[in-house]
């Protein structure tokens, strides 16, 4: 055997994970155990994931998409039976020994994170807004906007130009207010039902592949017993906001990607 292999780390658990079929997502999964922690890994080719290979492959969108979604699906399989700390895509080690050394070094922190994550799930909530639809939905019931509209009808050309401008400004202002209300109310109500909540950066249309704009990107760490209530609240929000230009997209359960920061890196993330 001349081909070099590397160790790719997916996640860390504090119970021995049942390693099922990976459905061709990766070579055989195995775990490395140290002091009560289990690191789930698989062997990958140096040619593909080594410094040169990774540099080349990260520029290949299809490769990234396939490998990153395999990464996610594998953690999903492990997560079915135990709490996990998901690692970022592309966490690689030279040998099982170096992976084990990492487990030793961060052992106490990982255990503390796993204690926090026990019996909880990550859920994601993204809200999108179709500005034109939202404008239509409030333009007919905003008293101030209707008032200006009436004034425009009975005004001279010069004055109506000025009034139209004022109306447009008012519509923009109301639009931003409504977007804020929807985002803030949704986030606050769901946060109440969560152990922890995060707001993430908004993603542009190139990434969302949608026509409308993302106006809220958030993640929640929810106790498994509260997930039913959490979903009911999402349904309530949908009933209230959808049809008015908003779309509420709730996904999960995810591995707790957003809730497993090491204390040593906290400064960088916040």
């Amino acid at each position: 055997m001349t081909r070099q292999q590397l160790v790719y780390l997916y996640c860390v658990a504090d119970r021995e994970p049942e390693l099922k079929e990976t459905e061709g997502l990766a070579d055989d999964l195995y775990f490395v155990c140290n002091n009560g922690l289990y690191a789930v890994a698989s062997k990958v080719e140096e040619e593909e994931f080594g410094q040169e290979g990774l540099k080349r492959n990260m520029a290949d969108f299809e490769w990234v998409k396939a490998k990153a979604s395999a990464h996610e699906r594998i953690i999903d399989l492990v997560m079915a039976d135990t709490d996990v700390i998901p690692f970022k895509f592309g966490t690689l080690f030279n040998t099982n020994d170096s992976l084990k050394a990492m487990l030793e070094q961060y052992g106490e922190e990982f255990k503390a994170i796993l204690r926090k994550l026990a019996h909880k799930q990550e859920w994601g909530l993204k809200i999108y807004c179709n500005s034109e639809k939202l404008k239509t939905s409030f333009s007919n019931d905003e008293a101030e906007i209707l008032k200006i509209e009436n004034e425009i009808k009975s005004s001279s050309v010069g004055k109506s130009y000025f009034l139209k401008k004022k109306k447009d400004e008012l519509i923009e202002k109301t639009l931003n207010e409504r977007i804020n209300e929807c985002g803030q109310e949704s986030f606050e109500l769901l946060k109440e039902l969560s152990f922890e909540a995060h707001i993430n950066r908004l993603l542009p249309r190139e990434v969302t592949e949608r026509e409308d704009d993302m106006v809220l990107n958030s993640a929640f760490l929810v106790d498994k017993d509260e997930v039913g209530d959490f979903q009911n609240m999402v349904d309530t929000l949908k009933m209230h906001y959808e049809g008015k230009g908003f779309l509420i997209d709730c996904t999960g359960p995810w591995p707790p990607y957003n809730f497993c920061g090491l204390s040593s890196e906290k400064g960088q993330n916040e």
Partner: protein
Amino acid sequence: MNSVVVKSKEVTLLEILDRVLDKGVVISGDMVISVADVDLIYLGLKVLLSSVETMEKLRGSPFISPMQEAK
């Protein structure tokens, strides 16, 4: 007690960018490639992500952070 939980999740490109490539534990140490290097290698992805910041600026951050607003 636990009501039936509906699992609704598709591993879309959006979720890959938002979670798998952006979040999760980052450690350095005896790794072949440090994740910081991987960040630099994103190339195409990097372009997308930097346009995120641009978009937030353009939109005038309509939704900064309720946590900040709430003080």
